[in-house]
């Protein structure tokens, strides 16, 4: 660089110094900061295998349960819906029978007895039966019973 003044006179006149600065105590603190960074890089590498070792079987079990759940629950759920539909109709039948029993129980005793006593000797005529039904049962009850 001895001939710098010959090839670059303006550059050769500039004082050769570094114009950049650093925060206070930067170099004093650098070593400690670097040690912390190196330790941080080493630690996760050590722990990662242990964590994965515990997580893997747990994830596997969870996945298996999820598959079993999907294979079993969904079909079962469908079947239960159909069964519930049929039992509901049976339930309806059962509840109607109870209603009739309750109805019979609420009939006037004399009326009930007279029907029984007169049933064999003097059977109820169709007209009489129809009148009885109209007086004591609703159209809905008649319709449903005939169904």
């Amino acid at each position: 660089m001895k001939d710098l003044s010959k090839i670059a006179p303006k550059l050769s006149k500039i004082k050769k110094e570094c114009p950049f600065g650093v925060p206070p105590n930067y170099f004093d603190d650098f070593n400690a900061k670097l040690q912390a960074k190196i330790e941080a890089e080493i630690k996760p590498a050590k722990h990662r295998p242990v964590l994965i070792r515990y997580l893997k079987p747990a994830i596997g079990i969870a996945a298996s349960l999820a598959i079993i759940f999907m294979l079993v629950y969904l079909p079962l759920n469908k079947m239960n819906v159909t069964q519930t539909a049929t039992t509901d109709s049976e339930y309806i039948g059962f509840s109607l029978e109870n209603e009739y029993i309750a109805f019979l129980e609420n009939i006037d005793v004399n009326t009930f007895l007279s029907v029984i006593e007169n049933g064999e000797e003097d059977p109820v005529s169709d007209e009489g039966f129809l009148n009885y039904l109209c007086d004591n049962l609703s159209d809905y009850d008649i319709y449903f019973e005939s169904e």
């Binding site: 660089m1 090839i7 950049f20 650093v22």
Partner: protein, 182 residues
């Protein structure tokens, strides 16, 4: 008092004294490496990150150090590569054309809160930023660090002749920049 490089290398490769030897290595070379990196990337925080990465790489690879070069040359090479990788990653992430990266560095220079030079120093740094990347590297290593061409050839993996030519061109361009300012 600093240990010799041979003693440091020996301690770094031993099991027991590794941490202490590494701290001594950092203490010995941190400033020289920092300023080299700083002149390339300009920003202090970027230089700090790169310096840390340099030493972490050295820590991880000390077993691979073949002692074909000096310890400092090896570290200097790592620092240079890390700095250039950093700048290249900026180029890749940016949608701007490559020339605009120099504009990015110029902005860094103008906004640098730790810049302590006068107007002339700022103009010199601006002139250096006009140079292509490798030329800028050669100029900084020769002009500011007064590094020998042999050592630079080892670090940059370039011939001495090419480095001399590169430095000569860099000097001419900077001189031209100052003439333009008049």
């Amino acid at each position: 008092m600093h240990q010799s490089d041979q003693e440091l290398i020996a301690d770094l490769r031993k099991g027991g004294n590794q941490n202490l030897a590494f701290q001594k290595l950092v203490g010995k070379y941190q400033e020289r490496l920092y300023w080299h990196i700083r002149k390339i990337v300009l920003d202090h925080d970027d230089a700090d990150d790169i310096l840390q990465n340099t030493f972490v790489k050295a820590w991880k690879n000390i077993g691979n150090f073949r002692e074909e070069s000096s310890l400092f040359t090896w570290l200097y090479r790592i620092a240079t590569n890390e700095s250039l990788t950093f700048l290249n990653s900026k180029k890749r992430r940016s949608i701007l054309p490559i020339n605009e990266i120099n504009d990015f560095l110029i902005e860094n220079l103008e906004a640098d809160p730790y810049f302590e030079g006068d107007e002339i120093q700022k103009n010199l740094q601006m002139a250096i930023l006009q140079l292509p990347e490798k030329q800028r590297l050669v100029f900084n290593m020769k002009y500011f660090d007064d590094m020998k061409y042999n050592e630079m050839a080892e670090i940059l993996n370039t011939s001495v002749g090419a480095l001399k030519a590169s430095f000569h061109h860099a000097v001419k361009k900077i001189e031209g920049y100052f003439k333009q300012l008049e």
